[in-house]
Amino acid sequence: MSVWRFLARRLVASLFVLAGVSVLIFCLARVIPGDPARIALGPNAEREQVEAMRHELWLDRPLAEQYVRFVGGALRGDLGISLYNHRPVMETIRRTLPVTVELILAAAVLTALIGVPMGIVAARWRDGAIDNITRLISLLGAAAPSFVWAILLMLGFAYTLQIFPIAGRLSEAMHAPPSVTGLLLVDCVIAGQWAVLGDGLRHICLPALALSLSGIAQIARMTRANMVEVYDSAHIELARAFAFSEASMALKYALRPALIPTLTLFGLQIAALLGNAFLVEAVFGYPGIAQFGVQAILQKDLNGIVGCVLVIAAAFLAANVAVDLAVAFVDPRIRLGARRG
């Protein structure tokens, strides 16, 4: 019951943040130098043409008036026409965002499924092989940003070893199943298209791995540190004194308290994933929102920039609400509203 109230509070707060972001990006996009109409029409366009376009885009009206019109459209799901590809921004986002979301989800799943168990094992057998591998990975993750790993993975596993495809989301011979969720892999499962699913998985492996490498290391280190700390706590000593099994301590009684700070870190990493996904998509020619976003910025495509930023902000907020819900699920003190401790 109080989980719903908690959720409602977080959603309302998120809406305020989103409104703030929209004002900020709307103004920022308009104050950075360069006339969008001039850029769109090219240096040889006539003055009158440029003026006509400025008028058409409402750029000759006061900022407040422009914003009100923008909000009115946005509430109806209309983010305007892109100056870059001359199509509705919403349409492009609808086509490319699920691709990016799928990549980020894959990276998040890899981060959680590899990072957390690595941390558990590293804490249980300190200075053992897994502990050292974790250290190595976190060193690697810190040594170079994810797009460098994207290039190295591509060179190693796609170009030299040819285990994975070099680029794209699907091979040419494959046809995506009808879109239900927009997430290709999920749609394949729904449609029962296992061959396409396998091909999609092969394509997503390298970009998702490049994207998740630093997150895996951070989550593993964090989980390890928390587990080590929890193993030293009085309640684990009590569990030992009452002969609880090692497995139940590692996977239940020590893990759950240790997961709470890890989950919070996970929320922060989603922000990093959103940013890094742009670069990794560019490296792997992955047809996500990155290409459109980058072009929108370079071309000073006002509607494109605002649309992309808003969508990314919304994704980030949604991810954080999800993480907060997960924390509330794991930690009864938050779920039930502890007054002390």
């Binding site: 706590s233 009085a234 309640h235 000593e237 009590l238 569990a239 030992r240 004194a241 009452f242 002969a243 609880f244 099994s245 139940s248 239940k252 009684y253 759950r256 308290p257 709470i260 794991v330 930690d331 009864p332 003190r333 039930l336 502890a338 002390r340 401790g341």
Partner: protein, 319 residues
């Protein structure tokens, strides 16, 4: 002494640290008969909790060297294989922890934790464990046991949580209960109630108790025998009445003088100096540097000598 339920003989405990080896427990020996109540007293840092942890095998033997014998009904606890501890911990020897606010897992319900204790100790079904958990909470005078079972530790008062710890220790009917300063984290009246409850329930079940405390008032009411520890050694042991009436070791005497008295005049006397440094402890009697009666002969190890029936002192100067 060999017929005792628990007999601890010449236990030495050394902790390896970066700076060197800390020799903390030095020749600890004592015995507990079935159903007996023994108090271990001594100032902070003298090794009481470490002694309790030795008895439950809770110390990391990779960092900590333990030598000696701790025979519990014929098995030597110090040589017990990890798998064999399962039959002992929580089942034949149970521990009551000091601070209920940290000893219970904050993210699991009381019911989950108590049920796990029961199932690990007795191997019963979930339903059976549920029934026992409920009955046990009733036995420790918890008014609304069903609600407490469903609650998380942060939802309970300190006194209630301490009762849960007592319930955990008693529920598998162990032969020996080690209580490490139970309730000292609570306020005095709650602590008193807790101790009374523990006293009554252990007496009903015939469990022996090792009560660790630095409150001598508590000792007088809840124990029959006392071991006085100083700097990792037992310096004096005997019946409660003997020790209160005729303390023989200079440390015990100082300890008794340090007890605040409600009757009589004057402030309690403190003991000069501090607990010895375990990295390079004094040779022989470790109380020597603080002892008003120390002589050169105190620099060699002092064996426990009989000064009365069941009353022993490790001091050559006590006569």
């Amino acid at each position: 002494m060999s017929d005792a339920m628990l007999s601890v003989e010449d236990v030495h405990l050394r902790v390896r640290r970066f700076e060197g080896v800390h020799h903390i427990l030095k020749g600890v020996s004592f015995a507990v008969q079935a159903g007996e109540r023994l108090a271990i007293v001594g100032e902070s840092g003298c090794g009481k909790s470490l002694t309790a942890r030795v008895l439950l095998g809770l110390l990391d033997r990779k960092r900590i060297d333990i030598s000696g014998v701790a025979r519990f009904n014929g098995t030597d606890l110090l040589g017990l294989a990890p798998a064999a501890w399962r039959g002992v911990r929580g089942r034949r020897i149970a521990m009551i922890f000091q601070d209920p606010s940290t000893a219970l897992n904050p993210v699991f319900t009381i019911g989950d934790q108590l049920r796990t204790v029961i199932r690990r100790g007795q191997g019963v079904t979930r339903a059976e464990a549920d029934g026992q958990a409920l009955a046990m909470l009733e036995a420790v005078a918890i008014p609304d046991p069903a609600r407490v079972l469903a609650a998380y530790p942060f939802q309970l008062s300190g006194g209630l949580a301490q009762r849960v710890l007592i319930a955990m220790a008693l529920v598998n009917r162990p032969e020996l209960i080690v209580a490490d300063e139970p309730g000292t984290a609570l306020d005095v009246t709650v602590q008193e109630q807790t101790l009374r409850l523990m006293h009554r329930l252990t007496a009903e079940r015939g469990a022996a108790v090792i009560l660790i405390t630095h409150n001598l008032g508590v000792v007088r009411r809840f124990a029959a025998r006392i071991c006085v520890m100083y700097g990792g050694s037992i310096v004096e042991q005997g019946g409660v009445d003997d020790i209160f009436a005729r303390p023989a070791h200079p440390y015990t005497q100082a300890l008794l003088r340090a007890v605040p008295r409600l009757t009589g005049a004057g402030l309690p006397e403190g003991i000069d100096g501090s607990v010895p440094d375990y990295l390079s402890p004094p040779s022989g009697c470790r109380f020597r540097p603080r002892c008003p009666r120390a002589i050169d002969a105190c620099a060699v190890d002092q064996p426990l000598l009989e000064v009365g029936p069941g009353h022993q002192v490790a001091c050559g100067r006590a006569a």
